[in-house]
Amino acid sequence: MPWTSPMVEKYRSQYGSGLDPLTYLGQNYLAVDRSLIPDILRLLRDEEQFDYCVDITAAHYPKREKPFDVIWILYSFARNERVRVKTQIADGASIPSCVPIWPTANWLEREVYDMFGIKFDGHPDLKRILLPDGWKGHPLRKDYGILQQDQEWVQINLGIESGQ
């Protein structure tokens, strides 16, 4: 369902088709083109008071041409309002980091990198956060099985034949 508001109309006229404002179950989100990141995020913070970045996450759709969705969940204390920003990116493509916009993005982007292998350009210290540094594979991709493990890492570091 389309989402209409004065704020959205303003950006719509500015960016045209690169921006698709939608709403579902009363929650608003902007599906934006990859090229508008991070400009649109910076605008939302500076001009629309979305000063709190609640979460950054991703989802994997292996059958799509651009298989990854990157999702920013934002909140504004002044407006008491949430908005989600969504963009699609190709496998292996990178996306600008928003650590300069919200410092909280640091660990959140590291987790997205760890789980999906999406790289964030300009991140101060992009490395794995929950899995060990030497681990191979990104477990939240759909092609990573639920029982799959990096057996080589397990054998070298834990000294056991299998983690199962």
């Binding site: 179950l25 709190y52 609640v54 929950l130």
Partner: protein, 393 residues
């Protein structure tokens, strides 16, 4: 361990007496290199398996780096391979000190996605149990935090009183910690005979106990020395770092999701949001003590107003939310706990993301301890109130 690339703690020059040239006083007796030491993951003051690498100048902290993930179980991956109902007990294992809150957030998120609502009686039961759990979580925090700082007595007091809450949980659903108290659409169990009486007895029993905790600590000079102006963080810094919960409120930001975006039936109850002014460890202590009192107020109103009626809403046997996505968050004892669920119309979530308050709040540790002493690191880890099960998921 030695094969790990991140083991930078070993690249430190070895200091021994032989290196000291005691004959030439123009040279300093002890060289003043920066020292990198490792704290955890097996350490009694890190509240679980948290590893912190500290860069020190003498006793002063120059910087920290948290190494986490020791308790990673892949909760989000598990969710994609379980049905909505099967995943429900797993959420209790994230923040296991506040399992009821986790369950409330998850059940409400799925209910919102399916566009159903729990009946009024179930909402009241949910609020009573969730607020009791908030008290239990804060009690556990207070006991362990005070123990870390050196006050051993409060631990015994808080654990003694927390037992009474766990007994109510046990009588209600058979479990004390990982309660699995709620179901999607309402509550599985009707309250047991004497539930209201037990809750009221607890309130009467617990009111003087908070005063007892406060008598032990609030004006205790050692406590004041160890907590005042320790781990200070400002309100704008909290917002920039995404810090929520009591830590944010102690920095003077009056924001609580129960008031800002009421969920369940919190809008029916009269309570206040306690805030602090300095954003230090002492203010966070005061805020949490006040929160326990406010939770008691909510429980009292809820238990007196609990209506008759069904406890389960109209939910199909097989839960199959329509295609779509939802973000729903609640005010857990540690901060904003959010669930982002993407449904593809099947019985299993296509993607389920948990926004854990402990994980995001822990990121502020570095800012809060820079320039402080090593002993303050222990105090600050305690005051953020992390649960590693939720940090690592």
């Amino acid at each position: 361990m030695s094969d790990r690339k991140n083991d930078s703690a070993t690249d430190v020059p070895v200091h021994s007496l032989a290196n000291l040239d005691l004959e030439t006083p123009e040279k300093p007796y002890l060289d003043s290199n920066e020292l990198i030491i490792n704290m955890g993951p097996q350490h009694p003051a890190t509240h679980g398996v948290l590893r912190v690498i500290l860069k020190l100048d003498g006793e002063k902290v120059l910087g920290t780096e948290c190494v986490i993930g020791y308790l990673h179980r892949g909760v989000e991956k598990i969710a994609e391979n379980r049905t909505y109902t099967m995943f429900n007990p797993y959420v209790d294992r994230m923040d296991y000190c506040a399992a009821v809150s986790n369950g409330l957030g998850y059940c409400e998120a799925v209910e919102k996605l399916m566009n159903v609502e729990a009946p009024s009686r179930a909402q009241y039961i949910r609020v009573i149990l969730t607020e009791l759990n908030r008290i239990a979580s804060h009690q556990l925090w207070l006991g362990t935090h005070a123990l870390d700082i050196g006050a051993m007595t409060p631990l015994f007091y808080t654990f003694r009183d927390r037992e009474e809450i766990l007994k109510i949980f046990e009588r209600y659903c058979g479990a004390r910690l990982t309660t699995h108290a709620f179901r999607i659409g309402g509550c599985q169990y009707e309250t047991y005979a004497g539930f209201e009486k037990d809750v009221k007895n607890f309130l009467a029993f617990f009111a003087p106990k908070i005063d007892e905790y406060e008598a032990l600590l609030t004006t205790n000079r050692i406590w004041l020395e160890r907590t005042k102006n320790v781990g200070v963080i400002s309100g704008p810094d909290c917002i920039a770092l995404g810090v929520t919960g009591p830590v944010l409120r102690a920095s003077g930001v009056k924001w609580d999701l129960r008031k800002a975006q009421p969920y369940a039936n919190y809008s029916k109850f009269d309570f206040e949001i306690p805030i602090g002014t300095n954003g230090d460890t002492y203010d966070r202590y005061l805020v949490r003590m006040q929160e326990m009192r406010q939770s008691m107020r909510i429980v009292e109103q809820a238990v007196n107003g609990i209506p008759e009626g069904p406890i389960m809403g109209k939910v199909p046997k097989v839960i199959k939310p329509p295609v779509g996505e939802i973000y729903h968050s609640i005010e857990a004892p540690k901060g904003e706990l959010g669930y982002f669920i993407v449904s593809d119309g099947s019985t299993q979530p296509y993607r389920l993301r948990v926004r854990p308050p402990s994980f995001v709040n822990l990121q502020a540790l570095d800012l809060m301890v820079r320039g402080a002493l090593v002993a303050d690191v222990v105090a600050v880890i305690g005051t953020i109130d992390i649960v590693l099960g939720e940090v690592d998921r």
